[in-house]
């Protein structure tokens, strides 16, 4: 019984996180300005990381944890680089 509840709630969490990613994609396409697109890209990275963590819980392996860690690292670096580019017009001065 509790295993059924767990598998269903993991499925529902996947659906919720997937809709959050879809909404972030929609905002990224819609804009209207560059900073909006960067904020939604950051949100998309965060949601994809959580999506992978839930995926790891569904399959019962810790393999997906490394992927989630790498996504959070690369998301930080890319958002930082894009914000720097908006501010100064170039990334490495």
């Amino acid at each position: 019984m509790s295993a059924t509840i767990l598998s269903w709630s993991l499925l529902i969490a996947h659906i919720l996180l997937g809709s959050a990613m879809a909404i972030a994609c929609f905002r990224m396409v819609r804009g209207p300005r560059a900073q909006d697109r960067i904020v939604s890209l950051d949100a998309l990275y965060m949601n994809a990381m959580l999506f992978l963590l839930v995926f790891g819980m569904r399959t019962g392996t810790t393999l997906y944890f490394e992927a989630a860690l790498v996504i959070s690292l690369l998301g930080f670096v890319s958002t930082l680089a894009l914000a720097k580019f908006l501010m100064r017009g170039e990334i490495i001065e």
């Binding site: 509840i5 767990l6 960067i38 959580l50 963590l53 839930v54 819980m57 914000a83 720097k84 501010m87």
Partner: protein, 126 residues
């Protein structure tokens, strides 16, 4: 014990509650990103996913794998620490870049400077 169906009831219920809480808060943050009007309001919404959303899913993952493998599995705390440290840095840089862009374009749709707000307050009190 490596089969997820062998989890005791309390661990399964706690993990499902936490994962639903985290995913729900992440969705609320994404809806805020969609619905709020200006950029400076929209910027606050996804941080709900970075704090409560990530916290719920990571705590649920810690509970799930710790009980499943009968030993403390704490490497999810690494992601939690990393997200907590990096989210304010990126969003503050991005807000400053957006403010710089809006001011250099002469847009009127920007938050008032701090000094003006403070001056108005002191005038009011005097």
């Amino acid at each position: 014990m490596t089969d997820p169906t062998d989890l005791p009831a309390w661990a399964a219920l706690l993990a499902s509650f936490l994962v639903l809480l985290g995913a729900g808060f992440t969705l609320v943050g994404a809806i805020g990103l969609l619905r709020l009007k200006t950029f400076y309001e929209r910027m606050h919404a996804p941080t709900l996913g970075a704090t409560w959303g990530a916290g719920g899913v990571l705590l649920s993952s810690i509970v799930f794998f710790s009980v499943l493998q009968s030993r403390p599995v704490l490497h999810e705390a690494l992601i939690a620490v990393f997200v907590t440290v990096t989210t304010p840095v990126t969003l503050m840089l991005l807000a400053r870049a957006a403010l710089y862009r809006d001011r250099s374009e002469g847009s009127t749709d920007i938050p008032p400077p701090i000094g003006a707000d403070r001056g108005a307050k002191t005038d009011h009190s005097v």
